[in-house]
């Protein structure tokens, strides 16, 4: 059966497909979107739009292939479109949010934190460093390290060559290492 037109009425099967997709992959998709965008409001919009696309294009999903790869590809494309749409505005917001915070000035912080506290503080530089990467670099790092996809799978999701994935990932990791160190020091 060919793809349905958007104006065709929804079937129970189509609705059930969407319901199952949200139930099984909603949380992962939202977290992926959150890591890409770095904020909850955009992650909500992105996730919602991605599932609308899933609903409309449900017939194009090939059973037996990875649904997660498919929806991540949708999210990635939507995110790229959104970045293009608000180009300029997006980049203005990042540096301010991600500049190292000058917490205690030159004065030493008098905190000897416990393990959980240290863990929590460790994750803050990582969040800031991730957010400071370019959107393309952030995508590949998230897909490679957090979602644990292979170069080949990342290339399919992002829509680029394996060579591009490799070079983006190398650059991203080098950059990330520097940024984490800088934010940890601050």
């Amino acid at each position: 059966m060919g793809p349905r037109k958007a104006t065709e009425p929804p079937t129970a099967e189509q609705a059930a497909f969407l319901e199952r997709a949200i139930e099984q992959y909603g949380k992962a998709t939202y977290n992926f979107a959150y890591r890409l965008t770095g904020n909850e409001a955009d992650a909500r919009d992105l996730t919602q739009e991605a599932f609308i696309r899933v609903y409309r294009a449900w017939r194009s999903f090939v059973p037996g292939t990875s649904f997660t790869s498919w929806i991540y590809r949708i999210v990635t494309n939507l995110h790229r479109d959104e970045l293009r749409r608000r180009k300029g505005r997006f980049y203005e917001e990042i540096p301010e949010d991600n500049a190292p915070q000058d917490f205690g000035g030159n004065k030493p912080l008098a905190v000897e934190p416990i393990d959980e506290y240290v863990e929590r503080q460790l994750s803050e530089p990582v969040a800031k460093a991730l957010a400071a990467l370019s959107p393309d670099q952030r995508q590949v790092v998230i897909l490679a390290d957090i979602e644990e996809y292979s170069y080949q799978e990342i290339a399919e999701i992002v829509g680029c060559s394996i060579g591009t994935v490799r070079s983006r990932l190398h650059r991203a990791r080098t950059q990330l290492r520097k940024l984490v160190q800088a934010y940890s020091r601050s």
């Binding site: 949380k27 994750s123 190398h170 990791r173």
Partner: protein, 168 residues
């Protein structure tokens, strides 16, 4: 084998090398302490990212799911609606249908309200108000110290200074 390049080490970490190259790097790491350290750095960066991912994991907000269904409900095809209206406008269909719609309009919202709508505990509002109002430095809800801000950039005063505790 010569020392692998940093890129090769990363590819090795992601298991993206061809089998021969993979075996060569594997053998080299077993006998080269500096490359083994560099490899551990690669692994540490990834494990830090995964730990961050675990720590920052979020639940899917209910509003996202509701938003999807609401939007789809609003996108019902207009063409079918026109055909449907044409059919129901015939009197022998329209009159009973109108009665049914009126009854549904009266009873369904009440039923839905009782069955589906969540309620929010008043404590939430009181606590959220208290939390946000506490940021007004000398407001009714503020606590001690009243205003906490990072140091002023243009202020070079030391963070602490000697103060006699015994008042004159």
């Amino acid at each position: 084998m010569q020392h692998p390049k940093p890129e090769q080490l990363t590819d090795y970490f992601y298991a993206a090398l061809a089998p021969e190259a993979d075996a060569a790097v594997h053998a080299h790491l077993a006998q080269c302490a500096s490359c083994a350290t560099a490899y551990d750095d690669e692994a540490a960066l990834s494990s830090m990212l995964r730990r961050f991912a675990n720590d920052s994991e979020r639940e899917l907000p209910r509003s996202v799911v509701d938003g999807v269904w609401e939007r789809l409900a609003n996108e019902r095809p207009k063409a079918r609606m026109a055909a449907f209206l044409g059919a129901v406008m015939r009197p022998f269909v329209a009159i009973p249908a109108a009665i049914a719609i009126v009854l549904a309009a009266v009873f369904i919202p009440q039923y839905a309200a009782q069955r589906d709508l969540p309620s929010i505990d008043a404590s939430y509002y009181l606590q959220d108000h208290a939390a946000m109002a506490a940021t007004v430095p000398f407001g009714v809800r503020s606590s001690v110290p009243a205003a906490l801000v990072s140091n002023n950039d243009d202020d070079n005063a030391p963070a602490t200074f000697a103060i006699a505790n015994d008042e004159p």
